[in-house]
């Protein structure tokens, strides 16, 4: 793991209350996040996205990762839980996900996002 990368992650974790990594964010989720993050969440929540995902969020809320950064971060997060401020919303099919509640009608998409960012 490059020292520079872990140093950056440490800075991010210190600076934000929540960091949400959305490697496969749909436009719907990004749109919800945009609505949710208006105003009061400035400097509290950071959304990490893959570089190719142009979600139109400004850089107060969103940071884009290049391919190497994305792989490094995914591998690191999949090695251990290095912070409770950091979470990932993935499409992995080998465990249950909060979006299952949306699919089955237990939560609205807005409630699911609020839960993720709680």
């Amino acid at each position: 793991m490059e020292k520079e990368f872990t140093k950056n992650m440490q800075s991010i974790i210190r600076a934000y209350e929540k960091v949400l990594f959305l490697p496969y964010a749909s436009s719907e989720i990004v749109s919800m996040f945009r609505d949710y993050s208006k105003g009061c969440l400035k400097n509290k929540i950071l959304l990490l996205m893959k570089e190719e995902a142009d979600c139109g969020l400004n850089d107060i809320y969103c940071m884009y990762l290049n391919r190497h950064e994305y792989i490094d971060l995914k591998n690191l997060y999949h090695t251990y839980e290095f912070s409770n401020k950091f979470s990932i919303s993935s499409e992995d099919s080998n465990f249950g996900k909060i979006w299952n509640y949306v699919k089955t009608g237990l939560l609205t998409p807005e409630e699911a996002l609020a839960a993720l960012l709680y």
Binding site: M1, K3, T6, M9, Q10, I13, N75, L76, Y77, H78, T79, Y80, E81, F82, S83, N84, S87, I88, S89, S90, D92, S93, N94, F95, G96, K97, I98, N100, Y101, K103, T104, G105, L106, L107, E111, A112, A114, A115, L116, Y118
Partner: protein
């Protein structure tokens, strides 16, 4: 607290005594739970006094356990620097230690039990190296498992809890059918969980220690293996289903059905049907016996007085009372002990006619038993949510009773 964690905690305590860690220090515990109560018991037996149990739950603050006050975490900030220490025997050790540091607490914090080997809130080179080695061990074990069960879906049950296994097995057949999976192996911790799996069918099972399970699951997460599934609502850290509880109350049954397995609400759970007759059934008067289950490893115990009232009530009415015990557990006064295997419990309680237990995984095993069933709920909140245990665990077809201070057994 299960035996393995108890032994680990006692070993850590022994080392701390040997190194004089407690000498001249004011001791605090953090997080009022079953494990902390056990830790307090051991410390008190050794003559070590505990200043307070710190807890974030405002409803617990102001009460006490064995005369140890339960107070807000901020209490500890009144201690002079260098004069105190905190011991934590809880799964959320990392978050709790972080909280104390963020509050400005600078003295020593000790992890008494390794409940969560996935978490270490550090990005130091040393931590990353150690966690990579752990991952490598997991990948080696995972590869061996995959070789042994080539072509099988591997279902991982990450925690040693009968209730979790019951929920998993109740919905697993639908999940397998939806993914068109013909064969699976269920990986569990300990014999009791394996026995619980077999109540639902002749599934191949693999038994792991907690450490082995954690490491193997880490390998599943890292490799993103498509032939593996982690069947749990809040373990390991990548599973975010429990976060929904900060927004809405979702009973555990629905968490498993809809959240873990993605099945529609109302999916009919499979029942545990592979039971066996209890060996000593002739010693249990049919229709006039009560099976009491006061012990649970993950739930704070109910006071003796509660059980005394219940035993007295049934004895007065001509019932014979039995306590379900395992290992060193003692039967309640006025009762005889019974130690049925898990496959024998349902036929036993149906023969007896009445089951009364603290709400634990055993109640899930007995969920569909054809007899009078009463679940007792200590008055606590589910994890760090605002929901009570009864909101999460209430059982349909049972009498569900919350036991509060001054509880009186009133039976209709």
């Amino acid at each position: 607290m299960d035996k393995a964690h108890y032994e680990e905690m006692c070993e850590n305590l022994g080392n701390m005594f040997q190194n004089g860690v407690f000498s001249g220090k004011r001791l605090y515990l953090f997080g009022h739970c079953n494990a902390t109560e056990t830790l307090a018991d051991v410390l008190l037996e050794k003559g070590i006094s505990v200043c307070a149990i710190l807890d974030n739950n405002e409803k617990k603050q102001g009460s006490a356990y064995r005369n140890i006050p339960i107070t807000a975490p901020q209490t500890i900030l009144s201690e002079v620097s260098g004069s105190s220490l905190v011991c934590i025997a809880a799964r959320a050790y990392e978050a709790m230690a972080q909280q104390l540091k963020n509050m400005g607490y600078t003295d020593s914090i000790y992890k008494m039990v390794e409940y969560d080997s996935f978490a270490e809130y550090s990005l130091s080179e040393e931590t990353i190296k150690r966690k990579r080695e752990r991952l490598e061990r997991g990948i080696t074990r995972f590869n061996k498992l995959s070789e042994k069960y080539s072509g099988y879906m591997k279902i991982f049950c990450p925690f040693n809890a009968l209730g979790d296994i019951c929920f998993t097995m109740s919905y697993l057949p639908y999940f397998l059918a939806a993914r068109e999976i013909a064969e699976c192996v269920v990986c569990v911790i300990g014999q009791a969980c394996a026995q619980t799996v077999r109540l639902f069918g002749d599934y191949p099972t693999e038994i792991f220690s907690q450490k082995e399970m954690d490491e193997t699951i880490q390998a599943v997460i890292y490799t993103e293996d498509k032939n593996s599934f982690i069947a749990h609502q809040d373990r390991p850290y990548v599973v975010n289903l429990h976060k929904a509880l900060y927004i809405k109350c979702i009973p555990l049954e629905q968490i498993y059905c809809c959240g873990v397995f993605g099945l529609p609400k109302g999916t009919k759970p499979y029942k545990p049907t592979f039971c066996k007759t209890y060996e000593d059934m002739e010693k249990i008067p049919k229709g006039k016996s009560v099976i009491l289950a006061p012990y649970a490893k993950s739930v704070t115990a109910l006071s003796n007085n509660v059980w005394e009232q219940i035993v007295e009530y049934y004895i007065e009415r001509g019932y014979k009372c039995f306590t379900n015990v395992a290992g060193d557990e003692k039967p309640l006064p006025g009762t005889l002990s019974v130690s049925p295997k898990l496959a024998e419990v349902q036929p036993l309680v149906e023969h007896a006619s009445t089951f009364i237990g603290i709400r634990s995984g055993l109640c899930d095993v007995l969920r569909y038993a054809d007899c009078e069933k009463i679940a007792l709920y200590p008055d606590y909140n589910y994890c760090d949510t605002k929901w009570k245990a009864i909101d999460m665990y209430a059982l349909e077809g049972w009498e569900n009773i919350v036991v509060k201070d001054g509880f009186l057994w009133k039976k209709n």
